[in-house]
Symmetry: C2
Subunit: 103 residues, 2 copies
Amino acid sequence: MTIERFQRLIRDIYFKKDSRRGIDGTFRWFCEETGELARALRKGDKAQMEEEFADVLAWLASLAEQKGISLEHAAETKYAKGCPKCLKTPCSCEERLPTGCRK
Amino acid sequence: MTIERFQRLIRDIYFKKDSRRGIDGTFRWFCEETGELARALRKGDKAQMEEEFADVLAWLASLAEQKGISLEHAAETKYAKGCPKCLKTPCSCEERLPTGCRK
């Protein structure tokens, strides 16, 4: 399933409710699901982790949709050519760059 | 781009670094990027929002990869048939269900 297709799927299921709630309310839900993902990662149950990963992705898609942003376009633009800093795959950035790169 | 392809892309760029950092360190980075997304949403600059959406998605993919989970499989399993609670598209769940459903 493409990222774009998933975003459309979530839009079709939830856009009316999500847009009524607005960005702030939707972001709060996104954070709640992020907390649930943190817990699932700690506990390590695979089915629960899968549920929470799906939920975080769904809320991220909903936020993007409300702002008129394509997650797929954003993801491709930033990462399709490798690390956005060193432009290599795998990333060869120094480990201790002061800011902006993955330490 | 499929969700799976994006996850593989991020794995190819970052898996070595990310797995050395571990789940806790990677989750902290995910949270940092979530904070940057919050700020970008508030400021409303489209290019900045796109960057931050891409980053949050990338860190989510990295977390999933480290746990051996396919984001695409998780997303399809949970949402391909519509709302996981009412099984409808659009979701027709009551707005004030006590828990577990999108209010």
